[in-house]
Symmetry: C2
Subunit: 322 residues, 2 copies
């Protein structure tokens, strides 16, 4: 993530993006687009959407400044247009964040396709409805690409770029290039799969988290602390495969496979056989332990502390040799 933040290095400055849906995700994208000097038009039928989005952008501005973005001109580059067809008519890019309903997605994309310029790139933030489904009513369904951020998009670098079955190689590359020009870490997901990659990994680890707490092996707050003081530090710097490659010493991943893979497969069998459900006693136990571990601070206080720490971590590794 070697983002160059000088104005001359903002390749998207003055390019126009239409943000469809100004909820939390749309507002966060808006803040990031403005930080990159883009012209942003938000299209959302809600009353007071202008105030809501401007408030979100104001709240996100210190974080973006901490990450090195200038926010000059942000206010004058932001506009609102409830009529979707007008909003997209001269857009270079669309980032759609509407309701997660198939009927909404299919009809909004058919509408956008008719009104937007032929060269406009189409992105949906959806985590749940793949491009192949959203694009069903489009004349050129391959044009639609998922650009799924990790929340909040203005702060965390990952964007999962998930093309549809008919998306061309050139369009996939242009999609990756767009998000990379914004300073994001855009990565290609090569097959449509429920949850893409990050959320699938999160589900897999969380099953074991719930199991260990439900069995009384560890408390909620202590489990969180295990992660932040070991795996989190490792994974903020090196992913799981590279970590095991290095864990194998001079023999690398092959050595890991010879020595640790059999034990890990045995543990997988045991973990698969375990029973884990969000039944009432389990829910109650977790909520009680969250209350005793974190109940002394409000959600807003905890979230502010999280953002401050995430920015510190991002800044600590961004300029180191990769």
């Amino acid at each position: 993530m070697n983002t160059s933040l000088n104005d001359k290095d903002r390749p998207l400055a003055q390019r126009k993006v239409a943000v469809i849906g100004g909820g939390v995700i749309g507002a966060s994208w808006t803040a990031l687009f403005l930080a990159n000097g883009m012209q942003v038009v938000v299209s959302d039928p809600q009353p007071n959407i202008g105030q809501k989005v401007r408030d979100y952008v104001a709240q996100a501005t210190p974080a973006l400044r901490s990450l090195g973005f200038g926010m000059e001109g942000a206010s004058s580059n932001l506009s609102f247009e409830p009529d979707i067809e007008k909003a997209v008519q001269d857009a270079d890019f669309i980032q759609e964040n509407g309701p997660e309903r198939v009927d909404f997605k299919t009809s909004v994309w058919a509408q956008i396709e008719k009104a937007a310029p032929a060269t406009c790139l189409f992105f949906s933030s959806s985590s749940g409805i793949p491009a192949s489904v959203q694009s069903e009513k489009m004349r050129a369904p391959g044009r639609l690409v998922i650009g799924h951020p990790f929340n909040p998009p203005h702060l965390l670098p990952l964007v999962e770029v998930v093309p549809g079955p008919g998306t061309s190689r050139a369009l996939i590359d242009a999609s990756l290039a767009f998000y990379r020009a914004l300073g994001k870490c855009a990565l290609e997901i090569r097959k449509e799969i429920d949850g893409f990659v990050a959320n699938r990994l999160q589900s897999a680890i969380f099953r074991e988290c719930v199991y260990l707490v439900s069995q009384g092996v560890i408390t909620v707050a202590d489990l969180d602390s295990v992660v932040t003081h070991s795996l989190g530090i490792r994974w903020a710097t090196n992913g799981p495969f590279l970590s095991f490659h290095l864990g194998g010493g001079d023999g690398g991943f092959a050595h890991f496979l010879d020595h640790l893979a059999p034990g890990m497969e045995t543990r997988w069998r045991e973990q698969l056989a375990s029973s884990v459900h969000f039944d009432e006693p389990t829910k109650r136990l977790i909520i009680e332990q969250i209350q005793s571990g974190y109940g002394n601070r409000s959600i807003a206080q905890l979230a502010a502390a999280r953002d401050t720490k995430e920015i510190a971590v991002l800044n600590s590794v961004r300029d180191l040799p990769q």
Copy 2:
């Protein structure tokens, strides 16, 4: 991890610890104990053990200095004694890192128990043989506690403290206090379970990593990049439970449970039904992709970059409000 590193705040300075086994884990513990001003005696029958451990400590010294430790006096506080009974006879603490064999562990602890002072605390770094098994030949088996570090111990904060079934509350508390005085994040694992907590979580997520790569959803290097640019940053600052508590917005974890838990349970069922094995094609695929993703740098170069980044992350969050 609010470690106070002034000499007056080193509560373990001049206390004596016997390190049994001077391999990579034992040498890393040695470096950390020396950084805390402790007297360290390493007991290992290997020839040249002195040179090996001194080399490791020298190599670890820049990292420890970067974390804020002074290393003055380290060299004169380090000694070697191959005879275990002599090594432990006046020790305040034992940290055992010998071979992971039940016969070795049971006999060495019986021997240590006879020779060490009655007030000495007994810790094993073992990740695989629980205290209840290691202590089988001891007269007071409850004295033995697992102090399992996350590798390397001189760098990563986590120590999983796993008592045996007969360990007293007072001894568990004293064990946690020992590691916390060293600046570690010591956490109690309340039941003996294979892999304790961190390695079980690592196994659970890695199964899904192998699945996604084996299915061609993403490459090894891109999956690593997904993690370092999203979940890793999140988990370096907030654990999985707190993250979902905050992901629930003002409604907290209860809101998360109502809205996201059903979908997560559905995904668990799908993930459990998937077939994931370290069969030959899967091994070959991963090793090829590790080679194409990381093969341009040596293990030593990659490991040095990892350590530098881990230190940067540790330093970035240590003094922020928790």
